[in-house]
Every structure is written in structure tokens, then in C-alpha cells.
Amino acid sequence: MNKTGPGKIALTALKTLFKKPATTEYTGKGSPEVEKHYRGRILYDPTTCVACGLCMRDCPTGAIQIINEGTKEDKKLVAILNVGKCIFCCQCVDSCNKNSLSYSQDIDFAMTKKEDLIIKL
């Protein structure tokens, strides 16, 4: 491949001049565009969850917790994710037999307080 020559250099320079920037602008509102399979915010569906605890057992950092806020008869399951601990490997999604967990492309987690990193899914 011939990369030299003033004509070629000038053409590349002109092309680069009018090219869109390689970086994307982040406005702070909404999540920026990421890859199709990017593993972002974990989504939780309490209606199918049976609280087997496999996700908690397999999580390498102990970031996810499924707790029952209701009574034994009237269950009200919630999933709590510590974003500060989570490495977004999505092993919890793979471990879930009932497909109650899934992942989205949302990567907007930045918080000013450490306590706010613990979120309800």
C-alpha cells in the first residue's frame, strides 16, 4: 500500500478536516450510545423471580442482593445493586433460571455520594 506522495497526503488531510469527530458528545442527559452487547444497568423483573438466590451466589463481587420487603405470604421482592461493586459481567443474568434479570445499554450511573451508588433495580 502506497501511503506516501503529496497528493495522497493532501487528500487525507482534507478528508480528516471534514470528518466527524471520533469522540461522542456527552450532554449529561441520557445514556450515550454504546455497543450492541454492552452490559450496562441490570434490569429486574420481580414477577418471575422465585428468590432462589443463584444470582447472589454467583456474583463475583457480591454486588447484587434480592430481598423480600413484604411478608412470607405476600412477597414483595426487590433487587438491590451496589454499582460501586458491580463489574457488569452479567453472570447474574446468565445464572438466572427464570430470566428475571437482563441487561440494558444504560451506563449513566455517576453519583456524587457513595451511598447513592446502591440502587434499587
Binding site: 500500500m1 455497543e35 452487547h37 454492552y38 452490559r39 463475583p60 453472570q91 446468565d94
Partner: protein, 401 residues
């Protein structure tokens, strides 16, 4: 620090040639290196011990983080070890996807190395070219696994991500572009006189020395040793994939550069073969959580060379012992020999030429004090610390952690 006409120059520990800590005490006579002391051990993370306290599934993600560049090679080796102990055969499609990711990883590792090596010798244009092209590979890996590094493709019993028809087309397109660029690199490696004269005769590790010091990967292959695990002891899809072992006879940094550039071309061919012959079928099979008792050793060809994983199971869902021998660990032994006899200005490129990964290497540190060695358990060490501070008038017992 000098005696007679010798000067000792400490290089490091803040990134001597690559962005990781390592200390090299170089004794010079004029400009010539007469003695080199290699000091690694600044990056001990206790990975193996951590693995012994977590389940096999959790360990997948720890093992993947042994190395940022060869994350897939380590993950594959660990998964293969578990699968072998469990007596599980993984689906053909999973084996092929593992091979595709492994070769993509080799491509991006070699492109990264080529860029860094060119930067070390002041050839920054090439550095820009290679790193621009590396982005193409990283984009594919990000599309496939979701991340640029630590793709998380491997799982026990197969793979987690599939390569669909669209992805096959994307990879093919990127490979066509990359092949053109690689041809340009081959041309540069064979014809660019400044590059050749800068690298030839630098950091020589001859054929006999490479065998004596147990060099692996491109360092060994550059010395004419046709050693490649993918060919010597084929695993997974490599049993069916034709792999050409790239060797060179220069036995110096130039030889290692040529081997790596030609290996990139070979990787492109392997990925094309895999995509053409990608079998249909499931991605993974179920593996029991409790792995039967036993021990195994797995060898995998990582981009930097032969990667060895040892795994011992006691029948529970937590491994009894995990041992990781990263390729760099084998290549450190010849480093002293490579540095001695060379010039000070060649030290950074000689160190960079083995593509060292410092943190992958650090496993355990033995401190030899000579006269007296003390051995402490955790409680004893804590007490020793408390007493040490007490002697200096500081009471730390009241402190709560």
C-alpha cells in the same frame, strides 16, 4: 554508585519501558551493560489465593483479569481445566468462537506491541498507524463481547456470546482492511533501513540460549524454535484449524518484530478459516457446580507465548489450588542475558521486546535476608506491627479498622 569506572543506573520502578512497575539495576562500563539485575514483584495481587476462596463461576472473572491483554487466553485455559476435570465436551461452535476471539486477541496484542516497540525506538508514525488499526480489532471485540478488553466470552462449558451472520460480515470487512495494513507493516519490516539497523543485533537470545532459559512465544520463535502450543498440543478448534508456525533466525529484537508481524497475517487467515467453517449448534453445555476431585494442567498459546494453568479440585465448588504461569514469567529468565553486552540506549526496547506483563508474572515473593528469616502467621504479623509502632511511641491498638 560507582566503583572503578563502572556506574550502576537504576531504571524504574516507575514504568521503565511499558506502563507497569519493574526495577532494573544496570551496571555500565562506558555505554555497555556489564551487569543487569532484574527486579519484579511490585504488582503482587494475591490472585491465586483469592481463587481458593471463591467458587469456580466467580473465579472466571478473577482469572480473566490476570492480564488485560491476554484475558481470553487465561479464561480459556481455566475453563478448559474445569471442563477436563468435569469430563465435559463443549460444543464445536463454542470451540470455534473461542478460537476466533483468541486470534482477534492475538491481533490486538501484536498491534499494541508493535506500536509500543516503535514508540520506544522513536518511530511514532508507526505507533499511530498500529494503534489506529488496533481500534478496528477492539471494535469487533466490543461488538462481540460488550467490552474492549475482558470480553467475558468464556463460560464454564462453552461461550456466552454468539457470532451471528451480521457479525461474520463485520469481521470479514474489518479483516480485509487489516490485511492491507499488515502487508504495509511487512513491507516496512523488510525494507525500512532505519528500523532494520535500529533493531538488528539488539537483545540477542540465540537458539541455544532460548532453550537454556526456557523462552516461549515470539521470543523463542524468533530464535528459530518452532514451538507453538496450537501445533504441538492442539486444543479446542485448533485440532482442525491449519496453523503455520512462524519462525525467524535473527534471534534479536528485529526477529521478534518480524515474527509478530507475520503472526498477525497468520491470525487473519485462522479467523477467516473459522468463519468459513463455523459449525452450527448450541453455545454451551451444563457443567455441574461441584467439580470431581482431581488435578490437571492446561497449556494454551496466549499472544505472548505458552500459558500454563494448573487446577486441583477437592470435589467441592471451590478449587483447592489454582496456579497460573503467564508467558512473561518464562521470558524473564533470559532477560539478564539479553541486556548484558548491549548498550544502555537499547535497554528499553530489549525489555519491551519480550512484551512483558509485570502484573501477570507476580505470584509470590520470597525474601531472602541471608542471616535470619522469620516466618509469621497473620496474628503474629499484626502483633509485630503493633510492637514496631509501640517502640516508636505510637499506640495503634485503640485504632478501629
Amino acid at each position: 554508585m560507582h566503583s572503578d569506572n563502572r556506574i550502576t543506573i537504576p531504571i524504574g520502578p516507575q514504568h521503565p519501558s511499558l506502563d507497569e512497575p519493574g526495577r532494573f539495576d544496570i551496571t555500565l562500563e562506558g555505554e555497555k551493560v556489564v551487569n543487569a539485575v532484574i527486579g519484579v514483584g511490585y504488582n503482587h495481587r494475591g490472585l491465586e489465593k483469592t481463587c481458593e476462596s471463591k467458587t469456580y463461576v466467580q473465579n472466571l472473572y478473577i482469572i480473566e483479569r490476570v492480564c488485560g491483554i491476554c484475558s481470553h487466553a487465561h479464561g480459556t485455559a481455566f475453563c478448559m481445566a474445569i471442563e477436563q476435570l468435569a469430563g465435559v465436551t463443549i460444543p464445536k461452535r463454542a470451540e470455534y468462537i473461542r478460537a476466533v476471539v483468541a486470534e482477534l486477541e492475538r491481533l490486538h496484542s501484536h498491534l499494541l506491541w508493535l506500536g509500543v516497540a516503535c514508540h520506544e525506538i522513536g518511530f511514532d508514525t508507526m505507533f499511530m498507524y498500529t494503534w489506529r488499526n488496533r481500534e478496528k480489532v477492539l471494535d469487533i471485540l466490543a461488538d462481540l463481547g460488550g467490552n474492549r478488553v475482558n470480553y467475558g466470552v468464556n463460560t464454564i462449558g462453552g461461550v456466552r456470546r454468539d457470532i451471528d451472520a451480521d457479525m461474520v460480515e463485520t469481521i470479514r470487512k474489518a479483516l480485509d482492511a487489516l490485511e492491507e495494513e499488515t502487508k504495509h507493516y511487512v513491507e516496512i519490516a523488510y525494507t525500512e533501513t532505519t528500523l532494520i539497523s535500529r533493531l538488528k543485533g539488539v537483545g540477542v537470545l540465540s537458539h541455544e540460549d532460548a532453550i537454556r532459559y526456557g523462552a516461549v512465544g515470539p521470543v523463542a520463535r524468533a530464535a528459530g524454535i518452532a514451538h507453538d502450543v496450537r501445533v504441538d498440543e492442539p486444543y479446542g478448534a485448533y485440532k482442525e484449524i491449519p496453523v503455520k508456525v512462524i519462525t525467524d533466525t535473527h534471534a534479536d529484537v528485529y526477529g521478534r518484530t518480524v515474527v509478530r508481524i507475520l503472526e498477525m497475517q497468520e491470525s487473519i487467515n485462522i479467523i477467516r478459516f473459522c468463519l468459513d467453517n463455523l459449525p452450527d449448534g448450541p453455545l454451551s453445555v451444563r457443567v455441574p457446580r461441584r467439580i470431581p476431585a482431581g488435578e490437571t494442567i492446561i497449556r494454551v498459546e496466549a499472544p505472548r507465548g505458552e500459558n500454563i494453568h494448573y487446577l486441583r479440585s477437592n470435589g467441592s465448588d471451590i478449587p483447592d489450588r489454582v496456579r497460573v504461569r503467564a508467558p512473561t514469567e518464562a521470558n524473564w529468565h533470559g532477560m539478564k542475558h539479553m541486556l548484558e553486552g548491549g548498550y544502555l540506549a537499547d535497554v528499553p526496547i530489549t525489555i519491551a521486546a519480550i512484551d512483558p506483563c509485570y502484573s501477570c508474572t507476580d505470584r509470590a515473593i520470597v525474601v531472602k535476608s541471608g542471616a535470619k528469616t522469620d516466618c509469621y502467621d497473620w496474628r503474629g504479623l499484626r502483633q509485630y506491627g503493633i510492637d514496631w509502632y509501640k517502640k516508636r511511641g505510637i499506640d495503634v491498638t485503640a485504632l478501629k479498622v
